[in-house]
């Protein structure tokens, strides 16, 4: 079975380590915050200028001056700090954020990512995504493995305009966890009940299949 949104978020959260500063993109990545283990400290960075983002506010706590990068009202955890957007991206570009998780339309086996622009459709902008993929070393892309019509989104070469070049080393889809190295996808884990063959048939680009590809556990 393909992973649900919640399972994707849970699997992302398994990558968290105690003491990590993490930037979570909009959508599934944000959900991963719900699965931070109780015995672990993880601090969330919001690129508009907040480190130490907390949960959504209670109705009476709502503050128009306190939002996340998705423009949602949020709270701060004890130990949070506030800074300008320039300093926020200095943190990101300077490699100080331990883990970045974001979505994409396509990823290819050269580590290229396309996530902001579909020619012919309205282009809203890249926001902070280009800075995040260029600045972070440890990035997980979360996406669906293939379109509803079965067209792979893991490709030999991205067809859409790129958000970043050669910067993605790990992709989590609803079917599989893959690493990317030396121009190849490497299958690391598969979603429970999903066969290696199914994953291979829905993956464009060269795919290395190790002898043992364990099922994900939650």
């Amino acid at each position: 079975m393909a992973l649900t949104r919640e399972q994707l978020a849970q699997r992302v959260a398994q990558e968290f380590q105690d003491g990590y500063y993490v930037n979570l993109g909009i959508g599934i990545p944000t959900l991963a915050a719900n699965y931070i283990p109780q015995d672990m400290q993880v601090m969330l960075q919001s690129e508009n200028g907040l480190l130490g983002m907390g949960q959504f506010p209670l109705d009476e706590e709502v503050d128009a001056d306190l939002i996340n990068a998705g423009k949602q009202t949020v709270t701060m955890v004890p130990g949070a700090s506030i800074f300008s957007s320039a300093e926020s991206f200095a943190m990101i570009r300077g490699g100080h954020v331990d883990l970045t998780v974001l979505g994409a339309f396509e990823v290819d086996c050269q580590g290229n990512i396309a996530s902001y622009m579909i020619p012919g459709k309205l282009i809203k902008g890249m926001g902070g995504a280009m800075d995040l993929v260029a600045g972070a070393d440890n990035i997980i892309v979360t996406m669906t493995h293939a379109s509803k019509s079965g067209a792979s989104k893991l490709l030999a070469e991205c067809t859409l305009p790129l958000t970043g070049k050669g910067c993605i080393k790990r992709v989590l889809t609803d079917l599989a966890l893959m690493d990317i190295a030396d121009g190849k996808f490497i299958l690391r884990e598969r979603a429970p009940g999903v066969s290696v063959e199914e994953i291979a048939s829905l993956t464009g680009g060269e795919l290395i299949i190790p002898d043992n590809v364990p099922e994900m556990t939650f």
Partner: protein
């Protein structure tokens, strides 16, 4: 003698000298920390042909969105513009030129403009549409593109608290692009919620020095929330 006193008492005075076809650098992220009354004053003045650098372009009827109603903006430099139907329409028809700029690059272009750095190299955008036509340089085996600083004829920004000399404190994530935007404008106009007497702010707690601020005005703010998200108790 006004010396270092930056306070003006009317919005008309705050934006005196703003003319058609000028470039404005604006603070704010979404509708958070935007100079909402200065934007309203630009609408009232009817200034046209403006180039505006701001992370976002407001929403319909709020923030920079109101300047689209009378087509006052000719060019927008922004990282994300997806919340605004009028913006979309004017972009699609070609009335409005849009230069999409990555968020961190935009912030750094403003910072560089204010800090006397004409250009900088960044890995952001290399190999993407943003990098097209830009100089590429390799440092330590990695490719970077040259991005130029941004300068404004005016900056418009919002802070929380100021003293009369224009020393500023921001509040929570309403800080966002405001400090850099202020530094990048020849005439930096800042509106605040409260102005206190000189000496009442602790110098260690000032976020941006008054040296960057030319005009200061106290206003009242709507502070519209774009995405009100709450949890239940």
């Amino acid at each position: 003698m006004s010396g270092f006193d930056k306070v003006v008492t009317s919005y008309a005075e705050a934006l005196e000298g703003l003319e058609d076809n000028m470039t404005i650098i604006a603070g704010g992220f979404g509708l958070c920390g935007i100079p909402e009354n200065l934007i309203k004053e630009i609408k009232r003045r009817g200034t046209k042909g403006l180039t505006i650098a701001s992370n976002n372009a407001g929403v319909d009827g709020k923030g920079l969105g109101i300047l689209l109603e009378d087509q006052q903006i000719a060019k927008m430099i922004a990282s994300y513009v997806g919340e605004n139907a009028l913006f979309e329409a004017q972009m699609m028809s070609g009335e409005l030129e849009v230069e999409l700029t990555p968020q961190g690059t935009l912030a750094e272009k403003m910072r560089a403009g204010g800090a006397g750095i004409p250009a900088f190299f960044t890995a952001t955008g290399y190999g993407t549409p943003v990098g097209e036509g830009k100089e590429v340089r390799e440092f330590d085996g990695r490719n970077y593109i040259l991005e130029e600083a941004l300068y404004g004829d005016f900056s418009i920004a919002k802070a929380w608290k100021a003293d009369r000399y224009g020393n500023l404190m921001f509040r929570k994530t309403a800080r966002n692009f405001n400090p850099m935007a202020i530094t990048a404008g020849k005439i930096a106009v800042v509106e605040v919620e409260e102005i206190v007497e000189v000496g009442q702010l602790d110098p260690d707690e000032i976020h941006l020095s008054g040296i960057y601020v030319n005009r200061l005005i106290q206003g009242t703010f709507e502070k519209t929330i774009e995405q009100r998200t709450v949890r239940s108790a």
